[in-house]
C-alpha cells in the first residue's frame, strides 16, 4: 500500500502473510523490493557469516570457554534484512537474537567474541552476560537481560530524533513471548500517540523457551493484529523470506522518515535450535519439528533465488560458507589469545567500580579500597 494509506484500510495485512519468494525461489507479487544482485549476495554472505559465528560460539560455550550463548539459527533473515533495509545511521534496539545486525553492519567479530569471553578486551569490560553487546557507533543499543524494556526506549529515541529534526529512525525487536510484557503496550501506545518514527518488530519464532506462542496469545489472533487497536499499520511477514522482510522494513522505514509514524511488524519465523546453551528443546517439543518446519531456511531460500536469477551457484555458496568459517576461525583465534572466561584474563579489577555513575562517589570508592584496588 501507499505509505500514507490509512492503517484502518490495511487491516487485512495483519492477518495475512507477506511473502515475495515462491517455492521455486522466484520473486513474485507487489512486495518484491527488486534488489540488485550485489546487495542480495552481500546479504546472503552476512547470513552465512552469522550462522557460522553462531555455530562457533555455541561450540566455544560447550568447550567451557564462556558461560552462555544464544544462536539465531533459522532467523538470520530477521536481522540481516533489517540491516540492509535500514540506513546505517538508524538506531537499533534489539533483543539478544539480532546479532545479525552487528555482523551485517560490519562490526568486528573479534569484538563480539571478546565480549562473549569477558576478556580484557571486552568492549563492555566484562560486565554483561555473553551476547549482551553494545555499540553506539554501530547503532546497536546495549542489550538488556530484561525482556521488552528496549521497546519503549526505541520509541523515546525516535521521539527525540523527530524532536531534533534528525531524519534517523529507530527500530526495535522483541520476541513473541515478550509481547506479554507491559513494555510492548507502552511502546505501541506512545508510538501511536506521538507518531514516533520507529519500527516495532515482533519476532514470532513460535517459542519462548519452552512455551509455544499460544501461551502469549498467538493462538487467539496474530501478533501483528495487536497493532490495530493502536491505529498502527500492522504487517505480518514471512520471516524466512529475506525479500519479504526487507520489503516490509523498507516500507515502514520510508513511512517513518516521511513522519507518518510507527509501524508494527510481526516477523513470522521459527527458532530452529534451543533457546540458549542452557536449554534442551527435546524436553518440550518433538525432535523432528525443526526439520518439518514448512517455511524453510532463510539462507537456502535466498541462495535458491540467486541461483534462479543466475547470479549465484552452489560452488560460490560453498566457497562463501568456507570463507565465513575461516573469518570466524581467524577472529576466534585472536579473541581466545586475549583470554576466555575463567582464565581470569579480565579487565583490571578497579574497572568493576567504574561507570556506576559518571563520577565515582565516596561510598563506591571506599568499597573499592576495601577490596584493596
Amino acid at each position: 500500500p501507499a505509505i500514507d494509506a490509512r492503517p484502518h484500510d490495511m487491516m487485512e495485512l495483519a492477518f495475512g502473510l507477506i511473502r515475495v519468494l515462491d517455492s521455486a525461489g522466484k520473486a513474485v507479487g507487489p512486495w518484491d523490493p527488486k534488489l540488485d544482485a550485489d546487495t542480495l549476495i552481500r546479504a546472503l554472505k552476512a547470513m552465512v557469516l552469522t550462522r557460522a559465528f553462531d555455530d562457533r560460539m555455541y561450540r566455544a560455550q560447550r568447550q567451557g570457554k564462556t558461560s552462555f550463548y544464544m544462536k539465531s539459527t533459522g532467523e538470520e533473515a530477521v536481522a540481516v534484512a533489517a540491516a540492509h533495509a535500514l540506513d546505517r545511521e538508524d538506531m537499533c534496539f534489539p533483543s539478544y537474537r539480532q546479532q545479525g545486525l552487528l555482523i551485517a553492519r560490519g562490526y568486528p567479530l573479534i569484538q563480539m567474541m571478546n565480549q562473549i569471553y569477558s576478556n580484557a578486551k571486552d568492549p563492555i569490560k566484562g560486565r554483561q552476560l555473553p551476547i549482551m553487546y553494545s555499540s553506539k557507533e554501530f547503532g546497536f543499543f546495549t542489550i538488556s537481560g530484561n525482556l521488552g524494556t528496549q521497546f519503549p526506549q526505541a520509541v523515546g529515541w525516535a521521539m527525540a530524533s523527530a524532536y531534533k529534526g534528525d531524519d534517523r529512525i529507530a527500530a526495535s525487536w522483541i520476541g513473541d513471548g515478550t509481547t506479554a510484557e507491559g513494555d510492548f503496550h507502552y511502546a505501541c501506545t506512545f508510538a501511536s500517540v506521538y507518531r514516533a518514527p520507529v519500527i516495532l518488530n515482533v519476532v514470532n519464532n513460535q517459542w519462548a523457551i519452552s512455551s509455544f506462542q499460544g501461551i502469549a496469545g498467538g493462538d487467539e489472533s496474530t501478533f501483528a493484529s495487536r497493532g490495530i487497536g493502536y491505529g498502527l499499520p500492522s504487517l505480518r511477514v514471512d520471516g524466512n523470506d529475506f525479500l519479504a522482510v526487507y520489503a516490509a522494513t523498507a516500507w515502514a522505514a520510508e513511512r517513518a522518515r516521511a513522519n507518518l509514524g510507527a509501524t508494527l511488524i510481526e516477523i513470522y519465523t521459527y527458532r530452529a535450535e534451543g533457546h540458549s546453551t542452557s536449554d534442551d528443546p527435546s524436553r518440550y517439543r518433538p525432535a523432528d519439528e525443526p526439520k518439518s518446519w514448512p517455511l524453510g531456511d532463510p539462507i537456502a531460500r535466498l541462495k535458491q533465488h540467486l541461483i534462479a536469477l543466475g547470479k549465484w551457484s552452489d560452488a560460490e555458496h560453498e566457497a562463501a560458507e568456507k570463507d565465513a568459517v575461516e573469518q570466524v576461525r581467524e577472529a576466534n583465534k585472536a579473541a581466545e589469545a586475549e583470554g576466555t572466561l575463567g582464565q581470569n584474563r579480565i579487565p583490571s579489577l578497579k574497572t568493576m567500580f567504574e561507570d556506576v555513575y559518571k563520577d565515582t562517589p565516596w561510598h563506591i570508592r571506599k568499597q573499592r579500597q576495601e577490596l584493596g584496588v
Binding site: M91, F93, P123, I124, K125, R127, Q128, M132, S134, S135, K136, F141, T142, S144, N146, T149, F151, P152, Q153, A154, V155, G156, W157, A158, M159, A160, S161, Y163, K164, A170, G182, D183, H185, Y186, A187, T189, F190, V193, D355, V356, Y357, K358, P361, W362, H363, I364
Partner: protein
C-alpha cells in the same frame, strides 16, 4: 530577588533549563496543557511549545522507558510522575534500565534523566497520596536520590539534577509546596513568602548534589532529616530546648557522610527522622553508617523516628505523621541514653 513558594521555584527551574538547553524537555500526566495537578509545569507549554512540555498517557512505565530512550539519544528529559505512590509501574525501567545503562554499556549509553515526583504525607491523601518511597531507590546502584526542603534548594537542586549526567530521582515534599510545616497541624500554615528561603534568584544557579546543609547548629545532639521533616525536626528542637544540630541531607545518594560524621563526632548522639515506614527505611542505612563511622563516640543508641510499618491511613493522618511530639521524645531519650 523574586519570592517564590516551592512550586514556583520548581517551575522556575524548569523554565530556566528549557530556556537554556534545547535538549531539555518535560512531560507527564496532565503536565502539558494543564500544567500539572500541582501546577509545577504551569505555563511552560504555552511559553516553550508543545514539543518541549507535553501531556503523556497514564503509563509510568512508558514515561520512564521513553525518557530513557530520549536520554540515550542525548536529550535531558524531565519526567513528572503525578504522585510518588504511582511510580511503581515504572520501577522496572528505573531499576533495570536507567540505573544500569552506563555500567552495562561501559559508558556507551547513558540515561541523564530526571524523574520528579511529589511524595510524603500531611495532606490527608490517604495511603496512595502520602507515600515516601525513597529507600526503594537508595538501594539501587546507579540512581541518585534528591529531596529539597526549601524553594531555594528546590530550584538549585532540580537544576543540578537536570544537568547531572546520571538518572536522578527527585522527590518533592508536597506538604511544604506552599509553606514550611512545623508538624503542628492545628497551627495556621505560614506561606513561604514569610521566610528567607523563598528568595529565589530568577536566573540559573545550582545547588550541588551530595552536599548536606546544617539548618540549625547545635552541640548536644545531631538530628538527620530531609524534606518536610527538616522543618518538623527544627520545630521539635526549638520546643525541647535541646541544643540540637539539625542536618538537612538534601541528597540521600550520594550521601554527605562527612557532614553527618562531623556532627555526630561533635555531639555523640543522633536522631534520624523520616516519614517512610521504619523497616528498611533510609533511616536504617543512616543508623548503620553513623555507628560504623562514629561508634566510639556514640553515647546513646541512635534513635529512629519514622512512619509506622503500616500503609498511611486516611483518618489517622496526625497519629501516623511523625510529628514534633514523637521527635521530641526521641531527642530526650537520646539525651538521657
Amino acid at each position: 530577588m523574586p519570592t517564590m513558594n516551592m512550586i514556583q521555584a520548581l517551575n522556575s527551574a524548569l523554565d530556566t533549563m528549557l530556556t537554556r538547553d534545547p535538549n531539555v524537555l518535560t512531560f507527564g500526566e496532565d503536565a502539558g496543557y494543564f500544567g500539572g495537578v500541582f501546577r509545577v509545569t504551569d505555563g511552560l507549554q504555552k511559553k516553550h511549545g508543545l514539543t518541549r512540555c507535553f501531556d503523556a498517557p497514564i503509563s509510568e512505565g512508558g514515561l520512564v522507558g521513553v525518557a530513557i530512550g530520549m536520554g540515550a539519544y542525548g536529550l535531558r528529559p524531565v519526567v513528572e510522575v503525578q504522585f510518588a505512590d504511582y511510580i511503581y509501574p515504572g520501577y522496572d525501567q528505573i531499576v533495570s534500565e536507567a540505573a544500569r545503562l552506563r555500567y552495562r554499556s561501559a559508558g556507551d549509553f547513558t540515561a541523564p534523566i530526571t524523574i520528579r515526583t511529589p511524595y510524603g504525607g500531611g495532606i490527608f491523601g490517604g495511603q496512595t497520596h502520602s507515600q515516601s518511597p525513597e529507600a526503594l531507590f537508595t538501594h539501587v546502584a546507579g540512581l541518585k536520590t534528591v529531596i529539597p526542603s526549601t524553594p531555594y534548594d528546590a530550584k538549585g537542586l532540580l537544576i543540578a539534577a537536570i544537568e547531572d549526567d546520571d538518572p536522578v530521582i527527585f522527590l518533592e515534599p508536597k506538604r511544604i509546596y506552599n509553606g514550611p510545616f512545623s508538624g503542628h497541624h492545628d497551627q495556621p500554615v505560614q506561606p513561604w513568602s514569610k521566610f528567607p528561603e523563598s528568595e529565589v534568584p530568577a536566573e540559573h544557579y545550582a545547588v550541588p548534589l551530595g552536599k548536606a546543609k546544617i539548618v540549625r547548629a547545635g552541640g548536644d545532639l545531631t538530628v538527620l532529616a530531609y524534606g518536610t521533616m527538616v522543618h518538623v525536626a527544627k520545630a521539635a528542637a526549638e520546643e525541647t530546648g535541646i541544643d540540637a544540630e539539625v542536618i538537612d541531607l538534601r541528597t540521600l545518594v550520594p550521601l554527605d557522610i562527612e557532614a553527618i560524621a562531623a556532627s555526630v563526632e561533635k555531639t555523640g548522639r543522633c536522631v534520624i527522622v523520616h516519614e517512610a515506614t521504619r523497616t528498611s527505611g533510609f533511616g536504617a542505612e543512616l543508623a548503620a553508617l553513623v555507628q560504623e563511622n562514629c561508634f566510639y563516640r556514640l553515647e546513646a543508641p541512635i534513635e529512629r523516628v519514622t512512619g509506622f510499618d503500616t500503609p498511611y491511613p486516611h483518618a489517622f493522618e496526625w497519629s501516623y505523621f511523625p510529628g514534633p511530639k514523637r521527635i521530641a521524645e526521641a531527642m530526650r531519650r537520646a539525651m538521657k541514653g
